[in-house]
Symmetry: C2
Subunit: 358 residues, 2 copies
């Protein structure tokens, strides 16, 4: 059992990573709650809701709301529906929302908690590798058709309860999606961690000690950054390495057509290319490409207009005054941000897409 | 010109109250902004948007979004529409939203600002008496059909710019609505302030010095409370004097059928009756009743079911574990909170409604 305390501007919360947390859930609640709403998705619901409900305090009223699996559920419609259900369940300001699922559920349920009666407690119970990233840092959001996570808040949870046992049964594309963020945490922190990650074969079962170690390290990288810059004024932006193009691809293809991490995989390749060309960095492009390829990440996109991708990048939250800002690497562990004028960005992207296709 | 600085957990901001602020708007902006979105309502738009736009910095891009006047505009539909317009206007994290209007606009535009890209700056430019209350304290929200302000955040503005010249032309019912909160601030603070308020005749034009004085005092009462308890854990609840029944009446009649302050006027009468009966307080019920009546506050409600009102009060944000909590007065200036069991509440309300009707 690994425990890490995260300090935010408004609270402190613990992240627990380990085995059989779900089976002992009530022991991990930071305070008593009388009315609890579980928000989960249709797949996770089948797997874990029963176990979670069975291990919550007996004297709590527990209600369950289920949304369809997939990023498309982070919609305004579901957000509103869940708020309505929270009212129906008579949740009050002392009640708790449990986000049981991957990053999509954490974002959606977290935004419901952040805005229901101006904010009630919520706890993240992640069930994907990807959620090692999204469950820490207090960002919650839903999507707008014009862009991912455009509507949201900074709203930290009261705890993150990460049961490693839930990760064994993940489908291959979910493993890929999650490991892309592990790779990102490697790129922006240190060489040794990254070297260790290249050894993982996602097509096989991952040893639980290796997995726990990788996740702890990733959480630690992220925690260190968000503790220094919760509201993303400066260094938190580094966590967006690979995400500028990644988000644009996701929203251009339509959420659900490609996983978040798969899109970030391509985004990281692009960020490396741009780093090499604009900062003269020497970076392991081929190593990343081969690792992604070997692990069956999609690297051939359907015909997709660079013009539209650039437009998407311009309305990304990270852009200011409509100039795209990318996170680049001077070297592994040394991220920087750089504004890329539209004209250069278009050229860089066209060359990259051509190279990727060939 | 009166200036008051409010300290919150996340920032400090100034509240300016005085004459001809709109004509010098750019001097009051706390920092430069390149992209500004004005959110206003259809009535205020006709009166002031042109003046506001003319007095913003020349180098800023300014866009205007207008929603219909009235509480019904604090809807999920308008919220989403405004977010979409913010995207269309290319607002980024360094942009500004100006809430130009009454409390409805402050709440709606503030919630858009709070959740657009996880929060951008906004400035309150109130144009009603009522907004002396709502523009201070950082509460923003939209309504749910099941209850007022059920969806929202705590999100302080960067400034409140209160131009007293905008208050002269308010329609009578808006004056009534605003002065109910002034009266509330009197009841929960001190006798002298309240005695002073009884002298006002809302059917006549109010002297601008008297008005400025009453508003400053009201803002000061509120500011002192919210600085001590921003998130409404304890004493901030006192500001809900008259609001438990007030909110229930508003939502039961449908927003827009009765103004907020008119509903709070009835709510204060009820809170006084309950205070007298449960705390043995001696309070000026008749003075308030006569003042409300003389100023044409509606005191005869259409047939309205007490059962439904009690249900509404139970889903109010202030209730916990489905027991209604009311703010009562031990004496003027000494508010307390008290849980009222359903059975007692129903009886008290039935008696009160009967007395009001007779």
């Amino acid at each position: 059992m690994h425990r890490q305390t995260i300090t935010t501007s408004t609270n402190q919360y613990d992240v627990f990573v380990g085995k059989d947390i779900l089976g002992n859930l009530k022991d991990y609640l930071p305070k008593p709650y009388r009315n609890i709403m579980i928000i989960t998705d249709s797949v996770v619901n089948e797997l874990y809701t029963e176990k979670v409900v069975a291990n919550l305090p007996n004297d709590a009223k527990v209600s369950v709301s289920v949304v369809p699996t997939g990023e498309a559920s982070k919609s305004m419609e579901n957000y509103y529906q869940l708020l309505t259900e929270a009212i129906d369940y008579q949740l009050d300001r002392k009640s708790l929302i449990i986000a049981l699922g991957g990053g999509m559920i954490g974002d959606l349920a977290g935004f419901v908690a952040a805005t229901y009666m101006r904010g009630i407690d919520f706890i993240q119970v992640p069930t994907t590798i990807l959620a090692h990233d999204s469950s820490v840092g207090g960002k919650v959001a839903i999507n707008h058709p014009e862009g991912k996570n455009l509507i949201g808040s900074f709203y930290p949870p009261q705890a993150v309860l990460y049961d490693i046992d839930t990760l064994n049964s993940l489908p291959a594309k979910e493993k890929r999606s999650g490991y892309a963020e592990v790779v990102k945490h490697g790129f922006i922190s240190n060489f040794a961690y990254l070297e260790d990650i290249w050894k993982v074969d996602l097509t096989q079962e991952i040893d639980s000690h290796v997995l726990t170690d990788h996740l702890q390290k990733g959480i630690s990288v992220k925690a260190k950054i968000v503790e220094q810059d919760e509201k993303e004024s400066n260094i938190r932006k580094f966590l967006n390495f690979g995400h500028t193009l990644g988000h644009a691809i996701e929203s251009e293809l339509g959420y659900g057509q490609i996983t978040h991490g798969e899109a970030v995989g391509i985004g990281m390749l692009f960020a490396i290319k741009v780093s090499e060309q604009r900062l003269n960095s020497t970076l392991p492009y081929d190593t990343l490409y081969n690792w992604l390829s070997k692990n069956h990440y999609p690297l051939n996109l359907p015909a997709i207009s660079t013009k539209k991708l650039v437009e998407r990048m311009k309305i990304d939250k990270k852009s200011e005054n409509a100039i795209v800002q990318m996170v680049l690497l001077q070297e592994i562990g040394v991220p920087v941000t750089e504004d890329i004028p539209d004209y250069d960005l278009t050229n860089l992207l066209e060359n990259f897409m051509r190279e990727l296709d060939s």
